[in-house]
Symmetry: C2
Subunit: 271 residues, 2 copies
């Protein structure tokens, strides 16, 4: 049992974005070891089909299991939307995604009963945020919108830029018209342009960051199952990618509060 | 021999962009049968490493060979840059890419001796356009620039838009400063925003479209080798993708002068 507690948490994403979730887990669960996998060879998932995203996610979970992870966090909204339920039935360790925690917080936050959800084309098309939100409260109106340009804008570094402000205003215009007061940032890159989104939506709109909520849920889960790492030892963090160590490392440096020294490339198609 | 002539030409790309090359082949070689493969599951290649792009390209060429193609056209600048030379040594049918024909036309066109090249991060980083251009004329100055936002802007349909004009002016500002008079559109999506590029660069700058030049080179090659299809029969076109038939079909409709009826999904990782 002690061995299980010190086993790492496996976190995966289609690429680098899941590091924003990893950062929250490090903050809220500072005793846990973490193995991160970013599928940088096959990124992005946001425009891919359910079948493909499920196949890729299964390969990654098989890889993470070779690292003896005690739990898996799907730090990718698209994979959480398209692959989580199936995989949860196939493995015998706990697995959580970012969608349910984000949906729950949106329901708890809204007062007008109008919730907005933004994400990739696949996440929005899946309708999964809507499903979870309506399950918790069928009276809530959900307005969802795919924002395909946000990820490339973030990756191009246009965090504070008139072009980003312009695109934000076009994508989110209807959120204002529907008078939403809680907006779920349903893609791991979006918290990085939260200032631009806040400027357009106004201070009265609560921006829900599923990364933060997911780390909270993970902590509750590990506490419930008596699986929290209480060793008191300094945690170890391992990073694996399917391609492009360089660009991964530079993004990691912009998200994590320390420098990532080693990242290993894995042939993920062989898992 | 007659059988060989009627065998199809295999054309592949990381996704949908290669259809702009296919369109040129259909125009200039109206008698040829074509098998197109778009790697829509693993798109984009432009941010991936040489090793990964080479692996993916090899899988695709193996797939195309099961269709008895008589020649292969690498309709992707990134794969032409990173994988063509290796694969050419591994197969016994002719294979051509879009880079050499584009480079050749740029050299023939420039009068100032200053040539611009724009493309994905991987194409630009490979320096392959520079190498080919300098090989043809060592006195030419090559100014190259990665334009990662152009593809997402095109795919979001912002062809004529102030945001696209704004991004064009930022990426291409230094092309003006270097006084380039020939600019290679080194990514298959870029010809779709040629008007925006032309507006910024001015009428005096010649935009080189490697798709057009590649179809010309293919015609010369097939003529030389006496492999042109002279059957006089109406050509057949087949389309294969690794994911997402729907979005492929809608892009195809915007590029090709007819409706694509059937597209088949292939498990490309198994080749």
């Amino acid at each position: 049992m002690d061995n299980l507690m010190s086993n790492p948490i496996g976190v995966f994403d289609s690429g680098v974005g899941g590091l924003t979730v990893t950062r929250e887990i490090m903050r809220q669960l500072p005793g846990e070891n973490i193995v991160y996998f970013g599928d940088t060879a096959r990124v992005p998932y946001g425009s891919k089909s359910k079948k493909t995203v499920l196949k890729y996610s299964r390969q990654i979970v098989r890889f993470l299991q070779t690292k003896n992870v005690k739990a898996v966090v799907v730090a990718c909204n698209t994979a959480s939307a398209l692959a989580l339920d199936e995989i949860a039935e196939e493995i015998d360790i706990p697995i959580i995604g970012v969608v349910k925690p984000g949906a729950k917080m949106a329901v708890e936050t809204t007062e007008t009963g109008n919730v907005g959800v933004i994400g990739t084309a696949s996440t929005v098309k899946s309708g999964i945020y809507n499903d979870y939100i309506r399950e918790l409260d069928p009276h809530i109106t959900v307005v969802s919108k795919a924002c395909p340009l946000f990820v490339p804008l973030v990756e191009e570094g246009l965090i504070e830029d008139r072009v980003t402000d312009d695109i934000v205003s076009r994508y989110l215009q209807e959120m204002k018209e529907y008078n939403v007061d809680a907006l779920v940032l349903g893609c791991t890159h979006y918290p990085l342009i939260r200032n631009a989104i806040k400027r357009f939506m106004g201070e009265q709109v609560h921006l829900v960051n599923p990364a933060f909520e997911t780390a909270k849920v993970l902590k509750e889960l590990l506490t419930d199952k008596e699986m929290l790492n209480m060793s008191g030892r300094r945690p170890s963090y391992e990073y694996y990618v399917s391609d492009g160590v360089e660009s991964f490392m530079s993004f990691a440096d912009s998200v994590l509060p320390f420098h990532v020294k080693d990242t290993e490339v894995i042939d993920i198609e062989s898992y």
